[in-house]
């Protein structure tokens, strides 16, 4: 019988410092192995399984709490060089997000301006919010790869990256939950010239949640869409908000594990971003009507799987 927790320990060793391993991860796994094997040898197989689950939850809680505490400690002990490095990361990430946003809005804005319908500024105000949830994850990965092109960075720089990713996640959520629907509705009313009834894309997150269970809405407003599609839209707004955090973890893993071959890193990043958008597109095409929640979260699951695979490329610490 393989001892429980060894695979988990192997995975944790690729992400956690030697100190975290010795102080937090190893003691929890040692307790789990002892309790699990005692219960199993007494024939209490269900109790052993319960111990296995409880220990995994306990380990997750411990690592999160320890990470938070170490984060505060790292922030308090940051030197001038760390702050300079943080500023550099911030500039690269914000610059990359800005560049991707410009690339994405260039075509629609220029074609509208060519038709002399609206001025550039007015169009940008309408289009930029809709573009940001796509530009943020792509720009974040590009910015991190560029900022950490010489290696995985210090704990301080990783902390700054997660801080940025968290801020971008919150921004994406606010955009998709409230700002984009409002902006879409203003755009429709401006173009239509009169009051226009809200469609699914113009509903805020709360309104979308209510609409899922509202047959009247489905019949009157959204005749071509079914309730599962509304559910897919609802869950996608949540899952897209988590994308910056997951992609930041992936980019850090990539810069730590593939430090030498810069071209390989860029290629892997392009493939993974491609996988993300293909999973999102596939989910909308085929999964939205059958398994909306799974279809919405599938891209994030794919990124998590890619991060685990990249983390396993080379061992960071010797594990036993």
């Amino acid at each position: 019988m393989t001892r429980p927790g060894l695979r988990l320990r192997d995975l944790a060793a690729r992400w956690c410092s030697a100190k975290t391993m010795a102080r937090v991860v190893d003691p929890v796994i040692a307790d789990m192995q002892l309790e699990y094997e005692q219960a199993w040898s007494r024939g209490q197989h269900w109790r052993a399984r319960r111990i296995w689950i409880a220990s995994h939850v306990a380990l997750l809680k411990a690592v999160v709490k320890h990470g938070g505490w170490r984060g505060v400690e790292t922030l308090a002990n940051m030197h001038a060089s760390d702050w300079w490095s943080a500023a550099r990361i911030g500039l690269w990430v914000c610059g990359a997000v800005g560049a991707v946003t410009l690339l994405l809005i260039a075509d629609p804005v220029m074609s509208e301006v060519a038709r002399r319908r609206h001025d550039v500024l007015q169009l940008a105000v309408w289009v930029v919010p809709s573009t940001l949830p796509i530009a943020i994850p792509i720009g974040l990965v590009v910015g991190i790869l560029q900022a950490l092109r010489h290696g995985g960075g210090t704990p301080a720089s990783r902390l700054v990256i997660f801080g940025l990713a968290l801020a971008m996640s919150v921004t994406s959520f606010a955009l998709m939950a409230w700002i984009i629907p409002a902006s879409n509705q203003v755009f429709r009313q401006t173009v239509g010239g009169s009051a226009v009834l809200k469609g699914p894309n113009e509903l805020t997150l709360g309104e979308l949640g209510q609409a899922i269970g509202d047959r009247k809405f489905e019949r009157e407003v959204s005749t071509h869409r079914y309730r599962p599609v509304l559910a897919w839209m609802y869950h996608t707004r949540w899952s897209l908000s988590f994308a910056p955090l997951l992609l930041a973890a992936f980019a850090i893993a990539l810069t730590s594990r593939v430090p030498r071959w810069r071209l390989a890193r860029i290629l892997i990043a392009c493939v993974v971003i491609g996988v993300y958008w293909i999973a999102l597109w596939t989910g909308e095409r085929w999964g939205a009507r059958t398994l909306p929640m799974l279809a919405a979260w599938a891209p994030n699951i794919a990124i998590l799987a890619c991060t685990v695979v990249v983390s396993r490329l080379t061992p960071r610490f010797v594990t036993s």
């Binding site: 003691p27 040692a30 709490k65």
Partner: protein, 104 residues
């Protein structure tokens, strides 16, 4: 670079509970601390608190050999240091004041 300012050592209620248990029982494993605390310490987060206490110098730990006949990874055995005992005495005795430890 060591800080030029003296470190102010404080004891949180959880740390005081752990110190109480360790002073009373001499040496305990993390899981035994959880059991002895009667629900006040949780099995996952107890190690975060223990790690912090080791950093402060209140406790020390040593790896013990795997239990005979069971195998598995070695467990960590915790005990209170002299500083930990002094802190426990000071805080439990009602003094409840901040102890300033100058740079060691």
């Amino acid at each position: 670079m060591p800080s030029p300012h003296p470190r102010v050592l404080t004891v949180s209620p959880k740390e005081l509970l752990i110190l109480d248990l360790l002073v009373r029982q001499k040496e305990l494993y993390g899981l035994q601390l959880v059991e002895a605390s009667k629900g006040r310490l949780k099995r996952g987060t107890v190690y975060v608190t223990l790690g912090r206490m080791e950093d402060k110098g209140f406790i020390s730990s040593a790896l013990e050999d795997a239990p005979p006949g069971v195998g598995g990874m070695p467990r960590r055995l915790y005990s209170a240091t002299a500083l930990g005992r002094r802190m426990q005495k000071a805080w439990s005795g009602g003094t409840k004041r901040l102890t300033v430890e100058f740079a060691r």
